[in-house]
Symmetry: C2
Subunit: 120 residues, 2 copies
């Protein structure tokens, strides 16, 4: 394939996990890896935290910016950790604050997995 594009397009390495759900039945192993991503977004609090980061200006936010989700601070920290373990967020400490940022490739992978319906 002549993939000489200089644009930041999706390259195959970015979607290493699994084929679209509509292509063929997932194997057990594929299902485990894919389910982990969906599971990470399967909690309302995590989803709000993730959305808050994703929609924040600059594509990143410190914890203090997004802690107003109705649960205690340790719970926020706990959920951010889960999102990080799932590969959906990355974090970086800068001085006093810790900044979280969306990992675009994982989102792209999820979109890819949803298959033709998602692209409609």
């Amino acid at each position: 394939m002549s993939n000489a594009s200089p644009l930041p397009l999706l390259d195959p390495d970015v979607v290493p996990c699994c084929p679209p759900l509509t292509e063929r039945p997932l194997t057990a192993e594929e299902a485990v890896r894919t389910a982990a991503m969906f599971k990470a977004l399967g909690d309302p609090v995590r989803l709000r935290l993730f959305s808050a980061v994703a929609s924040h200006e600059g594509g990143e936010a410190c914890v203090c910016d997004i802690s107003d989700v109705g649960v205690s601070q340790p719970t926020v920290s706990h959920h951010l950790k889960k999102l990080k373990e799932a590969g959906l967020l990355t974090s970086e400490r800068r001085g006093t604050w810790v900044y979280y940022r969306v990992e675009p490739s994982v989102l792209a992978a999820m979109g890819h997995i949803l298959g033709r319906y998602a692209a409609a």
Copy 2:
């Protein structure tokens, strides 16, 4: 309502739930509804069952076609019920067998929610 379009395009009613995660922080209520969809796909067994239906010829499959996922048959039925409650599958009985079918609009909604990353 003037819904006179003859084309099977995505109409707004099909994506009633929520804006893309990247557009603005989700409200609590939006997060609950959206998380339910992701949660339904957040289990490996459910994901395999869903994939089996989605990839089956004709876009539908009877339970007997997709029961080889390594759990007991009642457990399969349990997960299919969950997927149905989440709006991801529909079912119809034809004689002895029950056929499950993918609900495309919900998949489209999820793709929409994933936002620009998924569409890339």
